[in-house]
Amino acid sequence: MLAFLLRRVGVMLLTALALSFIVFCLTNLAPNLEKLARTEGSVRMSDEAVASWIENNGHGGSMVMRYGQWLGVVPGWVRTDDKGVTRGRCLAEGADPASAPRFCGILQGDWGTSTVFREPVIDTISDKLASTGWLMLWVMLVMVPVSLIIGVLSGMREGSRTDRVLSTFSIATTATPEYVSGVILVVLFASATTGISPILAEWGWIEGRTLFLGTATSAMDQITFWNFALPVMTIALYGIGYIARMTRASMTEVMTQQYIRTARLKGVSFSQVILKHALRNALIAPFTVIMLQFPWLLNGVVIVETLFNYKGFGWTLVQAAGNNDIQLLLACSVVAVFVVLVTQLISDIGYVFLNPRIRLS
């Protein structure tokens, strides 16, 4: 077991290193650096000035060395310019070069400074991640129970009318990406001219002009049902269909097993068979699926936060990519990749623990 764990963690670290290096290369391409030079320096810089800006701000040299500096395994760059001012990666403005640390990369906790938000990247990221954390929490609270119930109900009696209806619903939701369901939900529930809001307003059932709010900006301060329901539903809908279909497949397989028939023949009631015998075995496969759903949720988060203007992690990623904020984009990528790899690891380990048929060693 321990050897398996160590090997998995080892592969994960290797993957993380490779991925972060690729992301580093892609964000530090020459055109990106030139653009950065022009936004940070001045727009009308000559090509020579741009080249020297890049050189003087530590973006010169080989990609591997720069990656090492960013990671914190290679000493940070230090440069003394013609005016005798010493500047460096690890030097704050006006700090003494002698007392500064030699290494300052993400391993030392230094994530650099965001050029869009003008603050340390670590502050931006942790701030926005907290906002997205709430979104994810509510998505999980809605998505997991609903999809498991749908999957179990439709897999319980394969081919029944309940099964047909629920399966159609699951297929329909997997065919609806977030940017489509978001648009449809807003039009139905949060538009003053279409959907159900004008009717409800006319009857005097709702106070405002719309039933739900079309933006989730106010949820940054206080989450209420009315400003958070639509974003949460938009992300959850896509996942519900997928997890429900997996649960259904797993449930139908379990229901054909001998031990279910034995239990039924012994005279155990149908509900008892489902709850005591079938459920536990049927929920192993969906567990892995739910964990592997995280990378896709990240996608959904980016789309929904853009659509509903909720300033969380996904919104930050779009801002960083759109504004050529290299340090922030790198940090976003590291967080995203980390989330994906850790959930993969958990799903692998969880599967082994939950499934009694797999015995390592």
Binding site: P177, N299, V340
Partner: protein, 383 residues
């Protein structure tokens, strides 16, 4: 002229779609008559879900083919006074209507959605085919030979799969990256696989009759490399094979995202199938490894692959929509559904129609593909 009411709008649209209805009915009648002789495709007509999915998909396919006959206006023409016009607004100085209203630049939503179908249905299946060829060409040897090759390729595939798709798009589909030539390099690698695939396929089949082999493989190589030079490097002297750099960037990224999943599926199936008796029989007969992989194992793996192909076209459509939604790699004039939804969402709560129409179109196409895949799965499992 009078503005139209909703029943009139639907009637007018149904009339505009007449080539689609005609083609759809013809296809269904012919297929239904001959369904016992058409293999898996014919069996599809035994499943209700399959028929519904097939009809929806073919509706959009025929819409894409006959788009020129269906549209009522030029999809990029702007007519003043019709900005955000509601559906059914009469167009001044003509005998036509904006059937589904106008968008924020006073263009006809109906014509744009119809033209968008053509764009979506050319890129998505083409990208899926290339992704399948890459996945199959790498997945077959990885599953068949195993060992170091398998470990290496699987590691690379997992590396790509660990990337959140949206992040990959933001890194790969940018104007800056086009300047560095990364998309062309990726195209050079990815587009080589279809050429390799077809050549190896023909070579392993005809290698006992060299005259035939030389002819077929030679023809495949000439056509393949000709298309390859045009598509990847834009160096085709005749100019038949060419791709807009924007489009190439989008295309390559979508193939790149899809190929590792296909690789994993193919690898898994091959690992399962290689222990079958017919593979052992082939090995005993002294057939080459590639002949066994391509002509013994691959045909027997077609069931799950066809089902996944349908699902994957739907997934690719969603990915293309995502790219359009974030305005990555598309021109503002482009009528593709993703960017139209993005344009429309800014005024969503006041004028919903410019965003809702492409949203429903995209949803119905993907739903049709999913239902079709479901029907195919059901029918292929019955054998």
């Amino acid at each position: 002229m009078q503005d139209l009411s909703w029943p009139e709008i639907f009637a007018k649209m149904a009339v505009q779609f007449w080539p689609v209805w005609a083609a759809l009915i013809a296809t269904l009648v012919v297929s239904f008559q001959m369904r016992r002789r058409l293999g898996l495709y014919g069996k599809l007509f035994d499943s209700t879900v399959g028929i519904i999915g097939f009809c929806i998909v073919m509706f959009w396919v025929f819409t894409a083919i006959f788009a020129d006959m269906i549209i009522t206006f030029d999809p990029i023409a702007q007519i003043s006074g019709l900005k955000n016009a509601v559906p059914g607004t009469a167009v001044p100085d003509s005998d036509q209507w904006y059937l589904l209203g106008g968008d924020h630049l006073a263009r006809d939503v109906f014509s744009r959605v119809v033209m968008g179908a053509r764009r979506v249905l050319t890129i998505a299946p083409a990208a899926t085919v290339i992704a399948f060829m890459v996945g199959i060409t790498l997945g077959l040897p990885a599953g068949y030979f195993g060992g170091k090759l398998d470990t290496g390729l699987s590691f690379v595939a997992n590396l790509v799969l660990a990337f959140p798709v949206i992040l990959l798009f933001y890194l790969l589909v940018t104007p800056e990256i086009r300047a560095t030539g990364v998309p062309i390099a990726m195209a050079a690698v990815l587009f080589l696989f279809p050429v390799i695939f077809v050549s190896v396929l023909l070579n392993s089949r005809y290698f006992t009759t060299p005259a035939k082999r030389n002819l077929y493989v030679g023809a495949a190589l000439v056509i393949g490399l000709w298309a390859y030079s045009g598509l990847a490097f834009n160096a085709d002297p005749t100019g038949i094979w060419a791709m807009d750099p924007n489009l190439l960037n989008v295309f390559v990224s979508v193939v790149f995202v899809n190929a590792p999943t296909v690789f994993r599926i193919v690898r898994g199936i091959v690992m399962d199938l290689k222990s079958r008796d017919y593979v052992a029989a082939g090995q005993t007969r002294g057939e080459s490894a590639w002949y066994i992989m391509l002509w013994e194992i691959l045909p027997n793996a077609r069931g799950p692959l066809i089902v996944d192909f349908c699902l994957r076209i739907g997934y690719t459509t969603i990915l293309l929509g995502t790219l359009g939604f974030f305005g990555l790699g598309v021109s503002p004039e482009s009528p593709d559904w993703g960017s139209t939804i993005d344009d429309g969402r800014k005024l969503l709560s006041i004028y919903p129609h410019p965003a809702v129409v492409p949203a429903l179109a995209l949803m119905s196409l993907v739903l049709g593909l999913n239902l079709l895949a479901d029907g195919l799965r059901e029918e292929s499992m019955r054998d």
